[in-house]
Symmetry: C2
DNA sequence: ATAAATCCTGACCGATCGGTCAGCTTTGTA
DNA sequence: TACAAAGCTGACCGATCGGTCAGGATTTAT
């Protein structure tokens, strides 16, 4: 029986949850090859055999986590239109990516590791989804530029700029913390960094804000 | 005898060169744990034992490469002064980081992997060097803001923005190539991306350019 | 020519890798 | 209560890991 809509957590659900969290942590830190099932099992507080009993194989576990990350990612900024306000959309874009960095940093680092490896597990179909995502948004940015609502910057480079600048606070958190004497990045840090990025990027693209400010 | 100033390459120099290049490639792709000496040896076309004969241990090899990267990095933008032109300095900063991404992408990815791991090999002294580098430049940016030469943006966030946006073209090259249908990033891509970043960031910080343009 | 230093490598070491499996315990159902 | 299904795990497999070492091959110095 699958009580898939009952709130009670079965043994399987409970353990898979613990395994996923532990695995995300270890994969994010050491990459696919560098992560060991033993280390994941230890982090989850579960015997190695039990981990394999639930997830089948290292490969399957990794791909599951990767797809989960992609899914979360693609859900972002799903309803953008040419008629929206450019400043509002760019701000929403930056803020939501920044929130992902804050709430799911290990997810972000797992993805970064996959790319550094040369994206061997990212099927063409998944890259295809991202391509469509990018092209759709880029098209909107282009329209805005044509209407004079922002400078005619390359919209694809703009998307990469926002990705990189926001992901940096998840992927390179260790470096930021080490350089700025912090113990960790807190709510205020993400807020102020988000403010900074919104200000610089929106102004840098020559977006005219509704309130008349430049 | 050490012919350390003779141009002839000794067997040691030749082999170390090949090993370093191969190792940088493998470490950049798979991280410290994920890289195997066997794989490095194969990439260098040298028996595993011979690799260990030259470099001593995996740890030592990795640290050597990491220090080499840090050295290259710290040499950047070494002579910045409050009296320099903000736009010129920012442009030089972005261009030189962009050139590093173009000419030493594996170096950049090696470093990215080290940070993702939590920087276990980056001694406090090395982080200290980076901290001094950042604080010195941040101080200059602050002065410029006080003199009204640019907006009063957080100078540390600005440095991280430039780091992340430029490194992205090395660390996430696979993703960029996959999404934009390219085979690889070429000279023109780096040029146009560099142009874009200079334009957006300098304008975004409210830097007044000498020629009067905004 | 010959001794010394360096270069080079196959064989091997214990540890750990991902994964399998027999067989145990616990849970759910009739 | 009884039986099936699911949960669980120690022992084990061949492969690979980082590293050592004896000893042969080659180069260098005298």
């Amino acid at each position: 029986m699958d009580n898939h809509d009952l709130p009670e957590a079965t043994a399987r659900e409970r353990n898979e949850q613990r395994i996923f969290e532990a695995a995300e942590s270890v994969f994010a830190r050491h990459g696919y090859r560098g992560a060991s099932i033993q280390a994941i099992a230890a982090a989850a507080g579960i015997p190695k055999s039990n981990v394999l009993y639930y997830v089948g194989s290292k490969r399957r576990l990794y791909i599951t986590l990767l797809e989960r990350t992609m899914w979360r990612w693609n859900a972002m900024l799903s309803d953008i239109s040419v008629d929206d306000d450019p400043a509002e959309v760019l701000e929403a874009f930056i803020r939501s990516k920044m929130r992902l960095s804050q709430t799911h940093p290990r997810s972000s680092r797992l993805f970064a590791n996959e790319i550094l490896q040369g994206a061997p597990f990212l099927k063409e179909s998944l890259f295809g989804e991202m391509r469509e995502w990018v092209e759709a948004r880029a098209e909107v940015f282009r329209h805005w530029a044509e209407r004079g609502l922002m400078d005619p910057v390359d919209p694809v480079w703009l998307i990469f700029l926002i990705w990189s600048a926001t992901q940096h606070y998840a992927d390179f958190e260790t470096q930021i913390v080490g350089i700025t004497h912090r113990e960790k990045l807190d709510e205020r840090d993400f807020q102020s960094a988000g403010d900074f990025l919104c200000q610089v990027i929106i102004k840098g693209c020559g977006v005219r804000r509704r309130d008349g400010a430049v």
